[in-house]
């Protein structure tokens, strides 16, 4: 209990004094996670729309696969990305190992299934409601997808948020492919792991408190967005 209290004070003082190391680490965490979520949305949303709106051979298998991949162990993803990006691996020539890009790649692999699975469910529900109207109006397939994505935009923030949560809280994969290099690939989670290894539990906890607070803030913002949407659009 003493440690937690001490950690809380430490966290507050880190934040209040705008500790430069902390700002750098938090900044990188946000930057990487937001990038990973952005890329995952770019890939996952069209994929989700495809799965929700069309029928093609292998569709069911893909749906099951996205659901299974939602639970992919990060360490395994990290290992696979390491093997691929290692100088001895197939993409070694790119020299991406131990860079922020490698971390984003690992996070994207972890986030895409989450974004896809949640979005598919949302889009499928919306489509079920809109289908007859859109057919009656003679809406083309492409316009159908864009209309659904637009109308479901608030509901889809949930998908982005879940993806962000996964990306920001993950440690196993980014540790392996990022290497936890100071000032380059050190993010909140790997910093917490490092501090706890150094036995500096107070510092580790303080960083953890900052991370949780960040996550809370982002979730609160998203909650407010969807609540406003519900009131305004009866979404």
């Amino acid at each position: 209990m003493n440690d937690i209290w001490e950690a809380l004070l430490k966290a507050v003082s880190l934040v209040l004094t705008l500790d430069t190391d902390l700002l750098e680490i938090v900044g990188l965490s946000l930057q990487l996670s937001l990038t990973a979520v952005g890329i995952s949305l770019l890939i996952g949303l069209p994929l989700a729309a495809l799965l929700a709106l069309t029928k093609f051979p292998g569709r069911k298998i893909l749906i099951v696969a996205t659901n299974v991949f939602m639970g992919l162990p990060p360490v395994v993803v990290g290992l696979i990305v390491y093997v691929i990006l290692s100088r001895s691996g197939p993409l070694g020539v790119l020299g991406l190992l131990f860079t922020p890009t490698a971390m984003v790649i690992a996070q994207v692999i972890l986030v895409i299934p989450i974004v896809t699975a949640i979005s598919r469910q949302v889009l499928e529900d919306y489509h079920q409601e809109y289908d007859e109207l859109l057919t009656s109006l003679g809406v083309s397939k492409m316009r159908r997808i864009s209309a659904l994505l637009w109308d479901a935009r608030f509901a889809l923030t949930t998908a982005g948020l879940a993806g962000f949560g996964r990306a920001a809280s993950e440690v196993g994969a980014v540790m392996i492919v990022g290497g936890n290099i100071d000032h380059l690939t050190r993010v909140m989670t790997t910093a917490i792991a490092l501090e706890s290894r150094k036995g500096d539990l107070v510092m580790a906890l303080a960083l953890g408190i900052v991370l949780i607070t960040l996550a809370l803030g982002i979730n609160l913002a998203a909650y407010l967005i969807t609540e406003t949407a519900k009131r305004r659009y009866a979404a």
Binding site: E132, L133, L137, G138, D151, Y233, A234, A235
Partner: protein, 263 residues
């Protein structure tokens, strides 16, 4: 507006059947709808009224038989039709956005849309709520918006599925007036209703359905005064007809149908 002078009417159904699983929900229906009329499809629940309407509009495909438009493929004909369904589906946009979306779907140019929207909004009396999100409007307003959305498309044929089913008398009255107005512009109206009074007020032609069969199709005046089908007669008299007779033993004739080839 991109009006075409070509008419897709009349609409002809040729020996239509519709199967859902092993159940035959529409049975060997043949009939013809002429331009400019107001058809009301009547019948008890489960008669297949909505199914028939949706099949005419192209939302479902017949298992047997054909739906034919005059000189036009079904696909092309779809561009000259609009539908208002029983439970209105409103996009999560403003009232204006809902109509705008429908016009965009029909490839009406952006510059032409505001005038069209303005006109239907005025005529449906929705000016006050034009910028409100569609889904927070009252049921009556939503139904009027659904009609405005369909009207904006200037359809040759307007399908309405129980357009006043969940509305109170004033709202119902407003909708009926709109239907009359749209019809007055030359649009063919094909609608379902289980409200006898409404049917009498609106129909130029009546169609009576029972358990997937088209039992009678006749000009309204004739239908409501001397229906040839005894089930229709019972229905008009307000009797609980579905208790009286099994459809298998029913021998009554509808005016333009080929009946009772049940398998």
């Amino acid at each position: 507006m991109s009006f075409s002078t070509k008419s897709i009417m009349p609409l002809t159904l040729e020996n239509i059947s519709y199967l859902a699983g092993h159940k035959k929900l529409l049975k060997n229906i043949s009939c013809q709808f002429e331009a400019g009329n107001r058809y009301v499809i009547l019948g008890p629940n489960g008669a297949g009224k909505s199914l028939l309407l949706r099949m005419c509009h192209g939302l479902i495909q017949p298992s047997e038989g054909q739906v034919r438009w005059h000189d036009t493929s079904r696909k092309d004909a779809a561009k000259y039709q609009a539908m208002v369904s029983q439970r209105t589906v409103m996009l999560r946009r403003s009232a204006y956005g809902n109509i705008d979306f429908a016009l965009k779907a029909r490839n009406i140019h952006k510059s032409a849309r505001p005038d069209i929207i303005d006109r239907v909004i005025k005529r449906t009396g929705l000016g006050r709520v034009i910028n409100e999100p569609a889904r927070v409007l009252s049921l009556g307003e939503q139904q009027r918006l659904a009609i405005a959305r369909a009207w904006a498309l200037s359809p040759q044929v307007l399908f309405l599925d129980e357009p006043t089913a969940s509305l109170d008398p004033p709202a119902t009255h407003a909708i009926e007036e709109l239907i009359q107005e749209i019809s007055a512009e030359g649009t063919t109206v094909i609608m379902t209703s289980h409200d006898l009074g409404q049917s009498k007020r609106l129909a130029t032609d009546a169609i009576f359905m029972f358990r997937g069969h088209l039992k009678e199709m006749a000009p309204a005046e004739q239908f409501f005064t001397q229906p040839t089908n005894d089930l229709a007669q019972a229905f008009i008299n307000g009797e609980l007809i579905w208790w009286q007779r099994r459809p298998d033993s029913d021998q009554a004739q509808a005016t333009c149908t080929t009946l009772e080839t049940e398998k």
